[in-house]
Amino acid sequence: MSKLSYITPEGLRIDGRRNNEIRRLNMKMGIFNRADGSAYYEQGNTKITVAVYGPREVASNQRMLHDRAIVNCEYSQAAFSSATDRKPTRKSDKQSYEIASLIKQAFESTIQITLFPRSQIDIYVQVLQADGGLKAAALNAATLAVIDAGLPMRDFICACSATFIEGVPLLDMNQMEERSGGADLLLSIQPQLGGVISLNMESKVPQDMFESVLELANLGCMKIFALLQTEVKRHSADLLSNQINPKS
Amino acid sequence: MVRIDKRNNNQIRSIESELALLNKADGSAKFSLDNSSVLAAIYGPVEVNPRKEKISKATVEVVFTPDSGNQNYQTKEQESLIRNAIESVIMTMLHPRTLISIIIQVYSTDGSIVSCSINAACLALLDAGIELNSLIASISLSFNSDGQIYLDPTMKEENESKATAIYAFNSQLKLMMIKSSGIITEQQNQEALQLARSSCERILAYIRTAVKTRIMGDTESQTKDTVMSDSTK
């Protein structure tokens, strides 16, 4: 197999983006009827739906906390979501569990759970099409769904991934770039309060390049934040206008 | 075309049943159509898990265990068919907040197993003395590619058929459950319904005889009814 060049000399990637460009986002809130909050999120070719239920009664009394709500997350990939092979869904496999854990911890710190003692908030993530950046996309999609559910949060959660291939830091990789063997840095932040929720990295990055990769990921997060905020404002305006002028 | 076991199209296999075989169970019955043999055991009304509790009715639960292999998706569906049919005749309002558990164990399977199970469960409920608003009887049919309708098919006939159907009727001969899958024409459907109704009438008569034999104190709790003749059209 000929060596695939992830970035041309002119600085263009396989899909024509520059190194600091994120993929096109397409978002829709409130798509499901039964869930308290839901969202559909597309980042390039990655398509995710999230449903949020809560606050509701805790399933088992043993897990109930007297002073705050429990946040529960389940992450599942559809069997047809992967471009390479059909993966029969196994919600208990390690990768799903790890990603679910990541989302749970992120939202536990951001949702104001002390307002809902003895309750449970459930976040269900279903990946319909996978093309890289799944963890980041899941976090962003879940943020929209939680906002749609009307749960108070301290801030948005914006996540973005970045890598370092062929001497160049790249932002928001698709599946091919993820599999190139370069580092996979996932940064999730609270954009307005300015805190970092989680920072994960797999593989290696030279120490002097690490900061630039981190900077790039931060930049990606802020860009995503702007887009998420626009969508939330648009959706809210929509809801408001429906209230004043209810559609027949 | 004659069937392999030389029966007519409208002939049911010989029925055998036995009541009260188990000591611990509140009610039990064994029902067999030749080689299809099923044991039903009833435990109830008993205490129920608060999650499944219903405040105004009894919860009816069916556990269906096939003769070989574990429970799979297909047996779960059969379980749900049996439960839907049986729950309709039990007077659940008389036992709120309780559980009536029906355990079905298949001894041997040779076609019409869901029907056998429903008939066995009906006998077992009578043995347990649980109030029913009506009896229930069930029969299976299979439809051949040459347009023939076979009553009470064997496993081989079921596998080779184009379609199969399961019917359940109550004492007033009203339709309580129907499941048909496979390609059936309108005419076959009508014919099958009438055929099923008349044969369920005979099975109901058999059930009444079986219970009468048991109650009348006959030392033999086994009732045999061999080779039921053609239904009169």
């Binding site: 798509i31 499901f32 009827n33 039964r34 869930a35 070719n45 398509k47 739906t49 449903a51 239920y53 509701r56 389940e74 599942s76 559809a78 069997a79 047809f80 979501s81 992967s82 471009a83 059909r86 869904t89 919600k91 208990s92 459930d122 269900y124 279903q126 319909l128 099409q129 996978a130 093309d131 | 998706y73 297909q74 779960k76 569906e77 379980e79 749900s80 068919l81 839907n84 049919a85 729950e87 309709s88 159907a165 109550n170 007033q172 009203k174 339709l175 309580m176 459950m177 129907i178 499941k179 048909s180 899958s181 496979g182 390609i183 059936i184 024409t185 309108e186 459907n189 319904l193």
Partner: protein, 278 residues
């Protein structure tokens, strides 16, 4: 009024049914707005998304290659080559658990597998190479995303349109049979000529409601599901309930389902044509 609905849901419903209307404004026979959109999942070989009212189901088909089994005769091959699985998890409703498939999901799985075998597919359509030494196996996965009643109809329509949306590449087997590869440039659409026309009903007292919503399903004392094919042959007939079923009612349901034939055919064809333009 909302309090009344919560305390006496059945009484609340009866007040509407007496006037031959349902709380959402539909008449007793009216079916909710159904939309089908095919070909949206690019990683799947065929896909479709169906929404009946608020019930949403997404379906994706993946095709895998396997060697033809020696004992398979040509007449039986198609029967085991399409495997359907439906998942109804807590994402669609809080009644379902995530680990154990519910009884409803398992029953639905079995029924869908039985129905898919009734589709009229030429065995050669599922040949990988020209001679049929290798075969295509289609795995159909359905996910319920939003559960608001009548999942069977949505699942059947989704399954059918996803299958019709499947595109398979041309398969080439090397002469000694050791290498198998796909030619991605030439894609052919899987041709399935038959259709499945479903319609489900809920029986509340003596009223028969078509296309029940979740509340109606919960209040019902019986449920009827009928599936026809395009030749007006009955493929599936299912009734289970606490009260007995009148034969006249059954016949009415059969007739109503048959009347839906053209509408469903148009819906599915339209979605397939739209996906070709994408």
């Amino acid at each position: 009024m909302e309090a009344f609905q919560k305390i006496h849901p059945l009484e609340f419903y009866r007040k509407f049914l007496e006037r031959s209307v349902r709380p959402d404004g539909r008449s007793l026979q009216r079916i909710r707005n159904t939309t089908v959109s095919a070909g949206s999942i690019l990683t799947a070989d065929g896909s479709s998304f169906v929404k009946i009212g608020n019930t949403s189901v997404i379906c994706g088909v993946r095709a895998e290659i396997a060697e033809k089994q020696q004992d398979q005769t040509t007449s039986n091959t198609c029967k085991s080559q399409i495997i359907v699985n439906i998942e109804m998890g807590p994402i669609c409703s809080n009644i379902f658990s995530s680990t154990k498939p519910s009884e409803k999901a398992m029953s639905l799985c079995t029924q869908l597998n039985q129905l898919v075998q009734l589709l009229d597919i030429d065995p050669k359509q599922l040949y990988f190479d020209v001679d049929g030494k290798y075969l295509w196996y289609l795995y159909v996965d359905l996910y319920c995303l939003d559960y608001n009643g009548n999942i069977l109809d949505a699942a059947i329509i989704a399954m059918l349109s996803a299958l019709k949306n499947v595109k398979l590449p041309k398969g080439v087997v090397s002469d000694d049979g050791s290498e198998v590869y796909k030619e991605e440039d030439t894609m052919r659409t899987l041709i399935i000529n038959s259709y499945l026309i479903p319609l489900s009903f809920a029986v509340i007292d003596e009223y028969v409601l078509s296309d029940p919503s979740l509340e109606e399903e919960k209040l019902s004392n019986g449920s009827i599901s009928i599936v026809y094919n395009e030749k007006r042959e009955l493929c599936l007939q299912l009734y289970s309930g606490i009260t007995p079923l009148d034969e006249k009612t059954l016949q009415q349901c059969l007739d109503q389902t048959k009347q839906r034939t053209q509408e469903i055919k148009d819906l599915i064809d339209q979605s397939i044509n739209d996906s070709k333009d994408k």
